[in-house]
Amino acid sequence: MARTNPARNISNSSRIISLSLLGFLILILLGVPLFASSYVCWIIGNVLILILFAAGFNLLFGYSGLLSFGHAGFYAVGAYVCAKMLMTIPSLPLALAAGVFAAGLVSVVIGFFCIRHTRIYFAMLTLSFGMMIHSIIWKWRAVTGGDDGLVNVPVAPLRVPGLLSIDLGRAENYYYFLLTLVILGIALLWRLVHSPLGLVFQGIRDSETRVAFCGLSIQKYRLIVFTISGLYAGLSGALIIPLIKAADPGMAHWTFSAEPVLACLLGGAHTFAGPVVGAILLYVIKELIIRFTEHWSLILGVAVILLVLIFRGGIVSVLEKGLLPRLIGFFERGVKVDRSPGS
């Protein structure tokens, strides 16, 4: 039976809706420091960093089909190098760049070993190597401060000689700096996912053999995607330093590696917006739990178990399949929306 393609209608209208939602969201985010306290800025800053971390992670997990449990390691490398730099040279751009570069370097080396395997083996390897970073941070007391971590990290002002000098120690100022970088990072990721390179990643996820038959080196592309997600983790870790002004070994622990995984699963790993929504949800859930009980780990664990048993697929895909078509139907009366099950 020849059917008009409802998917195209949906994708066109959903793009308009998504874009206007996105614009609205950015406007709100830009306005936050004007009407909210610096504490709110601080919280949203934390969420933004988790979003960046999860979105970069999803390039590896959702788009390339590789589940890493070691990205906290790269996050920690970014954070510690950035903190160390800030303690010696007061320049934030330099510190951020150093943090990201170091994280990238470490992820190339670790990636080299890990990408030889996929699936469960890959998860175990990344977990083990991530914990290697943790044990180095824990033991190398002279440089990392051991279990005390690095505290009282100074925040350098953002200076362009002769042009401007912004005090990033103020939560509001740093918030804008952070927001800009996170939006840029996400936009770059969006561009990447929709580029030929992004298609190769998805191709490898869906059928390794076919991509290999196209003459592409699977291992090379796996290493590329691993490194990119490692860079994002490093950037996220570096960006948290001016916010919390400290680095601790817990950043590298594998239980923290589970956060981006949870964010992706909560939001939906096979969508671009999934990890973004998931990161927000995860943060809100954790904050709520911490507020009501000290046993956040128990409640979060139960929530995770229920999530897997009952609520799979993530929020975003539920919205896309159920809510968005209805919204579109509401906005475009006259255009028939295919709501048959399974479409």
């Binding site: 997990f61 589940l67 449990f69 070993f113 030889r116 395997h117 699936r119 469960i120 083996y121 998860a123 175990m124 390897l125 977990l127 083990s128 190597f129 914990m131 290697m132 044990s135 180095i136 824990w138 033991k139 622990h253 594998w254 239980t255 589970a258 995984v261 949870l262 699963l265 790993a269 046993h295 956040w296 780990s297 128990l298 979060l300 664990g301 139960v302 929530a303 995770v304 178990i305 999530l307 897997v308 048993l309 799979r312």
Partner: protein, 294 residues
């Protein structure tokens, strides 16, 4: 003479080897259960280290606080962890066998979070190590050095467990069914094997092994809520070195990690933790599927 003034004579090498062997046996008990459960059920259980921790806590209460007979306490602790495993498999794992691995791993991670808080609520506080049972008190002289009797007991217990596992899996009707299920679920099911029961019994067995390891550690090692996540990493390194899903590999891997840790402390103090990862990376380079992996 080495850095730090350690003289490396024969008795030191032997002594440190025994220390490593002792450590290896705890690791073996954890890695064995992890490997068996993975080999049959196909689920990598992040919470396996937490089961080891539960075994230690149970034994602490039974033996340390309620002063039960040592052997009875060890047996009951392992059996109780088996019951926990039964609940996990029957009510949770059962539903995830067909799911994507990511969901399986995350579900077991949920259990890690739950267990680490449950033990805080149930036991809390700082722990004292209960005294050793009388028969294990004291040391034996090995080349003129005192070596604790209990450590010798642990080494022999680990070897006995290895033999018991081998007999159970290779020589009995249960082992036959387990091996059949591991190699082809559908075929085994067609031959009249109740897969669900096999899965449950295997998981309970694996959990009890981890519980036994934890229980045996009670009189010598302090347990805290972080133990579960710490030992699972070592178990992972072991399975990567030995080969995923390979029991002999798990034994060899445990020996390597135990010995490397013991000699590492002696020769490269401070970086001994780092050393086992170097070994893991080397094994990956030379034999990506592990030393005994096919």
């Amino acid at each position: 003479m080495l850095k730090g003034g350690v003289s490396l004579d024969f008795s030191t090498i032997l002594y440190q080897g025994l220390v490593g062997l002792n450590l290896a046996m705890y690791l073996w008990l954890i890695a064995a259960g992890l490997t068996i459960a993975f080999g049959v059920l196909g689920v990598l259980n992040f919470a396996h280290g937490s089961l080891y921790m539960l075994g230690a806590y149970f034994a602490f209460s039974l033996y340390g606080a309620w002063k039960l007979n040592f052997w009875l306490a060890i047996f009951l602790a392992a059996a109780l962890v088996g019951v926990v495993g039964l609940i996990m498999e029957r009510f949770f794992f059962k539903y995830i066998y067909k799911l994507d691995e990511a969901y399986q791993l995350i579900l077991t991670f949920g259990f890690v979070l739950v267990f680490s808080d449950v033990v805080k609520i149930a036991w809390g506080g700082v722990f004292t190590i209960p005294p050793l049972p009388d028969i294990f008190k004291g040391t034996v002289g090995i080349l003129g050095r005192p070596f604790p009797v209990y450590n010798l007991f642990i080494i022999s217990a680990g070897i006995i467990v290895a033999i018991v596992i081998w007999v159970l899996l290779e020589r009995g009707w249960w082992g036959k069914m387990v091996r059949a299920t591991a190699s082809d679920r559908e075929m085994a099911s067609a031959m009249g094997i109740n897969i669900a029961t096999i899965f449950t019994s295997v998981f309970v067995f694996a959990a009890a092994l981890a519980g036994l390891g934890g229980a045996l550690s009670t009189p010598v090692r302090v347990v805290d809520p972080g133990v579960g996540t710490a030992v699972i990493i070592q178990a992972f390194v072991i399975t990567v070195i030995g080969g995923l899903g390979n029991l002999k590999g798990a034994f060899v891997g445990a020996l390597i990690v135990g010995l490397v840790s013991a000699y590492g402390i002696l020769l490269f103090p401070g970086v001994e933790l780092f050393l086992i990862y170097v070994i893991m990376a080397l094994v990956l380079l030379i034999k990506p599927k592990g030393l005994l992996g096919g």
